[in-house]
Symmetry: C2
Subunit: 339 residues, 2 copies
DNA sequence: GGTAGCTGTTGAAGCGCTTCGACGACCGCC
DNA sequence: GGCGGTCGTCGAAGCGCTTCAACAGCTACC
């Protein structure tokens, strides 16, 4: 039944043409008459031919694989990462590429390994730190790469991300417009700020800048995504009337803690989140949020990576504009707070 | 600086030996004198040589890549899946293998594609359904594979998993021993049962069997991992004095719902969970749990896959025995319930 | 009627590596 | 001192594919 793997020569023989013709039919790189093409395709189907990936990579000088460097470390929110990953895989597959998983543990050496051995044609990095050891390595790689995130110095690199600074501003502006005068950012765990992860800091900076501009007082506190931490953070926040939660795993805990403290949402406290829509919709009550467009960013990253073949200049950093969706958790502050 | 990629011939020339000698040094498949070996290794380092993955796969008939088929669908708990994935990647890397990500979307066709094109040397599948279309495909693949999970008919396949039936029994036995007479299993979302995912059903069967044996009444209800669902499920459970939560994402919600209903844990209600330790420890109070040894299972799967080279018989299914860790959430039932 | 220009197909030359068989050098043994 | 046996190294073959240069057969045009 299975007399060893089928090669292109088998297909050529079966179809009564040469191996190169089969190759051209499959790649479409040369005109082939309709008759021949059909004959060849029929043989391909009949024999169940799958071109040998290694041979193809060797001869064609491209593996049709891209590397996805995923963070699997402290403080990151796993479901969000997986949304990115799923989008990247989908987009890559749609473009005829497979995805090789590289963990952040391997660091720059891992990237050099997979790129150096021609295992992958390009790389996508997530969870980029402000001063990431992998960033300089990337520049020397001779393979294209795209970062999801924004390092301190993006020169010569292609980056895509949500404009988190603007997202922070947007939240403050929204709350300020509602009349809030005292807001707080409940952010990522401390470890994420310490590590210099870009998105966390950029949001914080955006919140602070907008607060200054809008004449609003803004606190910013890191937060572990566990219930006691949420409770404790809230009890220390005093007469804050609005919260901005930039921590997917903590949204639920914050709402629960508010309930525990007897503070109603949105009547006593308004809550905004920067999180994917599904997290916002799973919360009770549904939380007004700036969406994290994971699927869109993942797809964009792949597109940027693959369009590099066409060498359309250097697109540099693309920061998607944030979008705030108003749901049930934000209202003007209670009367007693508006002097 | 970079005059194109370094080939084995460059290394051979630099070291003053033949290409085959370099190959043998690198693979260790033939005795090489210490002097020559050092010379070659020095040249490898000096030139920054990385063997071309495609060429290696072509000549050596192995790609040093394994496929990991990940579920990215409704009802699965993403962080747990990622724990498995991380363990698989780690173990694979330790064995000199890279990991290619294949999503469940691609189904059997995806497996045939990556195996048929010799892209991967072996496959690991997660989230196997009772009657999974991929399982028969696997048998025809001519590449080894390991399932994390247990299909209806595991004949001829290598499977590893936690013994969920035994886990369910263990929970009931523990609660029965404490004196509980009425327990409830809060399980996976309905969609997971409908799909026929093995672990959910096996746990339920284990719970029922042990309940019968121990003379305990056991309800089993599916549960979405959102707060309102937890609240609703609990309010309908009547005078149940103990809960078994087999749903990582719902553990927190169940505890919060109990708090909301004014039922204290463990004084009024005992709670057991089947979940990874970190979920149990992040809960308030810490929940007694049967651990899901994701890291161990991931590593085991890779080991099983790679030891196939040695062809040590057919190890068949390996079900790890469950371990119950008693923490703060389980006590004998309140007096009023013990007639 | 000759030539220029297409179109469709082919053979052959690699891509960079592994591995097989061969062989020279050197060991110890009778 | 000659012979079998290791040990260490090498040349060459080939893995299955892509792609280049070449060419046969046409059409079209002057």
């Amino acid at each position: 039944m299975t007399p060893g793997p089928v090669t292109i020569a088998d297909v050529a023989r079966h179809a009564g043409v040469s191996a190169s013709t089969v190759s051209y039919v499959l790649s479409g790189k040369r005109a082939i008459s309709a008759v021949t093409r059909e004959k060849v395709l029929a043989s391909v189907r009949a024999l169940g031919f799958h071109p040998h990936a290694g041979a193809r990579a060797l001869a064609g000088n491209r593996s049709n694989i891209i590397a996805l460097a995923l963070p699997l470390r402290a403080g990151i929110n796993v479901p969000v990462v997986m949304q990115f990953a799923a989008a990247v895989v989908d987009a890559a597959r749609a473009g005829g590429y497979d995805v090789l998983l590289v963990t952040a543990d391997e660091g720059a050496a891992g990237l050099r390994r997979v790129a150096g051995s021609a295992l992958v044609d390009g790389l996508i990095l997530m969870d980029v730190e402000t001063d990431d050891e992998r960033v300089p390595a990337l520049r020397e790689l001779s393979r294209p790469s795209v970062l999801i995130g924004l390092p301190a110095d993006p020169t010569g690199l292609v980056c895509v991300d949500l404009d988190f600074a603007r997202a922070g501003e947007l939240c403050v502006e929204h709350l300020a417009a509602l009349g809030h005068r005292r807001v707080a950012l409940l952010g990522a765990p401390q470890a994420v700020y310490d590590r210099g992860t870009g998105f966390a800091r950029r949001t914080r900076d955006g919140v602070r800048a907008a607060a200054l501009r809008c004449g609003v007082h803004a606190d910013a506190v890191p937060l572990e995504p566990v219930f006691p931490a949420a409770l404790e953070a809230l009890s220390r926040l005093g007469d804050t009337t609005a919260l901005i939660v930039h921590n997917e795993g903590a949204v639920d805990h914050v709402l629960t803690a508010l309930r525990t403290l007897g503070r109603r949402v949105p009547d006593d406290v308004s809550v905004l989140a920067i999180c994917p829509d599904d997290v916002a919709l799973a919360a009770t009550p549904n939380v007004s949020n700036v969406q994290i467009p994971a699927a869109q960013l993942g797809r964009l990253a792949v597109d940027r990576l693959l369009e590099r073949d066409d060498d359309t200049g250097v697109p540099a950093a693309t920061l998607l504009p944030p979008m705030l969706t108003t749901r049930l958790s934000s209202l003007p502050p209670p009367i007693r707070s508006v002097r």
